[in-house]
Amino acid sequence: MRSDGSQSAPLGLKIAAACGLLFLHLPILLIFVYAFTTEEKSFVWPPPGLTTQWFAVTWNRPDVWQALSLSVRVAAISTAIALVLGTLCSAAVSRTKFFGRETISLLVILPIALPGIITGIALRSAFSLADIPFSFWTIVLGHATFCVVVVYNNAVARFRRTSGSMIEASMDLGADGFQTFRHVVLPNIATALLAGGMLAFALSFDEVIVTTFTAGQQQTLPIWMLEELIRPRQRPVTNVVAMVVVLVTLLPILAAYYLTRDGDQIAGSGK
C-alpha cells in the first residue's frame, strides 16, 4: 500500500490468489490423467499404468453416441429458439422505454435466478397437470426457457453500445425497415448473438437438474453421466466421456470470449 505508484501486490495476497486459482483448476486437470489410467475398478492414485485403449472402447459404445446425439440436437434447437426470443426481447427492451420494462427483464432472468430444481419440478408438474407426455420437445421446452437469458444479456449489452442514430440514418437514406435490419442492425449485433448462442449451447449441453425432471426415459449426455456417477458400470468410459465434455465446452467459451472481449461487457459473466 505504498503511494510511490509501484503496482506490486503483497506476497500474502499473491499466494492466496494463486492458491485460489489452483483450487479452481487442478480438479479439472485431474480428469485428463484419469482418462488414461489402466485401473478399471477404483479411483486409485497414482494410476498404475497409462493406456489409450479406453478411447477405443468409448468410441464403440452406442449408448454414449445416442446420449451425445440427443444432447446436441436438444442444445441446437434450444439455442435457435433462445436466439429468436432473446434477440426480440433485448431489441424491445433496449430500443424503447415502456410500462413494465423492468418486469420483462425480471421475467427473462427468473428461470436462471431460481434454483434449477424449482424450474424442473414446476415444468414437470405443469406437464402432469396438462397430460403432456415426456418427449424430445419437453426437454427443449425447459432448456430454451433458461437459455433465453444468456442471449438476452449479450444482445442487451451490445445494443447499449450501438447508437440508435444509425438506424435513423439508414431509414432517412431510404432503406425500409427490413433492409435496415438486414444491413445495419444485424451486422452490429452479429458477434454478440454468436457469443450468446454459443454460451446458450454450452449451457443447454451441460444442463442436468432441469433435464432430470423433463426427460422421461431419454438420456442426454449429462443424464448418462449422472447415471454413471450414481451406479457406476464402467468407470474408464466415464473418465473418457468426462474429458471429452470438458474439451467440448471449453471451445464455445473461449470463442465467446474472443468475440466479445473488445466491449466493456464480456459474455459469460452471468451464467
Binding site: L30, A122, S128, L129, T145, V208, T212
Partner: protein, 321 residues
C-alpha cells in the same frame, strides 16, 4: 426558369409508400412503433409467461393439494395440511441442515474468493487480467457433473488426497477429522465435509465475479489515502475495503446461498444419506409420488430467497451484479 421547373415538377416532400406487403409492413412499423414493439415482445413474453410462470403457478397450486395416505392418490382440494407436514421434526431437520450448509458454503466462498477478486481487480493488468478472467470463467462454465466427478476422484479413499497426505505423513489429521461426529464419516466422499468442499468448489466463481466487480469500482487512491493517514493494512481492510466490497459479497452470496439451497445432485453423489431440501423434493416427487409435499418443499427456498433478496436490495447489492 428554375422556379418554373420546380413548381412544374415538385419534388415529393415525403417518399411514396413502397409497394407490396413488405413495404406496407415496413411503413406501418415506422408510423406506429408501438405495433413493432408489441410484435417483438409478444413471442418472448408469451413463451416465458405460459411455459415458465404458468408452470410456477401449477407448482404452487399443487402445494395446496394433499395426498391420501391410504390410496396414495392426490386429492385435488384446497388444504394447508401439506404445509403442516413441513413442520414435522424430520422435515424441519432437513430444512435446518440445508440452511446451515448454505450459510457455511457462502462464508467459505467469500473468504476464498476475496483474494482472487482483489488481485484481479487491483493488480492484474493487460495479459494477466485476461488470464485471470479466463481463469475464473473456464471453471464457471465447465461441466457441472464433470466437476463433481473430479471431486469424487479426489476424495475417494484410494484417491489422490489420501495419497498426498500419506506422503506428507499427515494421515493422522485426516483420520482424526473423520472420527469427529457430524462432519466425519467412513471417508471424505461420504461425509458432510466432502459435500461442503464440493459445494464451495462448484459455486466459488459465482462469488468471485461480483466481488471483483465491486472492488473494481473502489478508487485506488482511497486505499492509498487510508495508509497515508497511518492505517495499518489490517485497518485499511476493515474500515475501507471491506465496507466497499460488501455489496459485491452480498450479491455473490445470493448465488452461493440460492444454488446450495436448491441443489440435490452434489449431496447425492458426495455426502451422507441424510437429506437436503433438493433431495427431499426429488424423492418426494419421484419414488414417494407425493407431489404436493414436494411442491411445498420448493416453496421453502423461494421464501428464504425472497427474504434474502429483500435484505440484499436494502444493502444495495443489486448495483454490484
Amino acid at each position: 426558369m428554375t422556379t418554373a421547373a420546380l413548381s412544374s415538377n415538385p419534388a415529393p416532400a415525403i417518399l411514396p409508400g413502397s409497394g407490396g406487403l413488405r413495404g406496407a409492413l415496413s411503413d406501418l412499423f415506422w408510423r406506429k412503433p408501438k405495433v413493432l414493439l408489441l410484435l417483438m415482445l409478444l413471442p418472448p413474453v408469451l413463451w416465458l409467461g405460459i411455459v415458465y410462470i404458468g408452470s410456477l403457478f401449477a407448482l404452487l397450486a399443487q402445494s395446496f393439494f394433499s395426498i391420501d395416505e391410504f390410496s396414495g392418490l392426490i386429492n385435488r382440494e384446497f388444504t394447508l395440511k401439506t404445509y403442516g407436514d413441513l413442520f414435522q421434526a424430520a422435515n424441519l431437520d432437513i430444512i435446518l441442515r440445508t440452511v446451515t450448509m448454505a450459510a457455511l458454503v457462502t462464508l467459505a466462498s467469500a473468504v476464498i474468493a476475496f483474494p482472487i477478486a482483489y488481485y484481479a481487480a487491483r493488480y492484474a493488468r493487460g495479459r494477466w487480467k485476461a488470464l485471470f478472467y479466463l481463469g475464473i470463467m473456464l471453471p464457471l462454465w465447465s461441466s457441472y457433473l464433470v466437476k463433481i466427478y473430479a471431486w469424487k476422484l479426489i476424495l475417494a479413499k484410494e484417491g489422490i488426497l489420501t495419497w498426498l497426505l500419506a506422503k506428507l505423513h499427515l494421515l493422522w489429521v485426516l483420520d482424526a477429522w473423520l472420527s469427529l461426529p457430524i462432519v466425519g464419516g467412513n471417508s471424505l466422499s461420504v461425509s458432510f465435509t466432502g459435500t461442503f468442499i464440493v459445494f464451495v468448489y462448484v459455486w466459488l466463481p459465482f462469488m468471485i465475479l461480483p466481488v471483483q466487480a465491486a472492488l473494481e469500482r473502489v478508487p485506488g487512491n482511497l486505499v492509498e489515502a487510508s495508509s497515508d493517514l497511518g492505517a495499518s493494512p489490517g485497518q485499511t481492510f476493515r474500515n475501507v475495503l471491506f465496507p466497499l466490497a460488501l455489496p459485491g459479497i452480498v450479491a455473490g452470496s445470493i448465488f452461493t446461498f440460492s444454488l446450495t439451497l436448491g441443489d440435490y445432485i452434489i449431496p447425492q453423489i458426495i455426502g451422507t444419506s441424510r437429506l437436503f431440501i433438493g433431495q427431499a423434493v426429488y424423492s418426494q416427487q419421484g419414488t414417494a409420488g407425493n407431489i404436493p409435499l414436494a411442491a411445498a418443499f420448493t416453496v421453502v427456498p423461494i421464501v428464504i430467497m425472497g427474504f434474502y433478496l429483500w435484505g440484499a436490495k436494502r444493502m444495495g447489492a443489486f448495483d454490484a451484479l
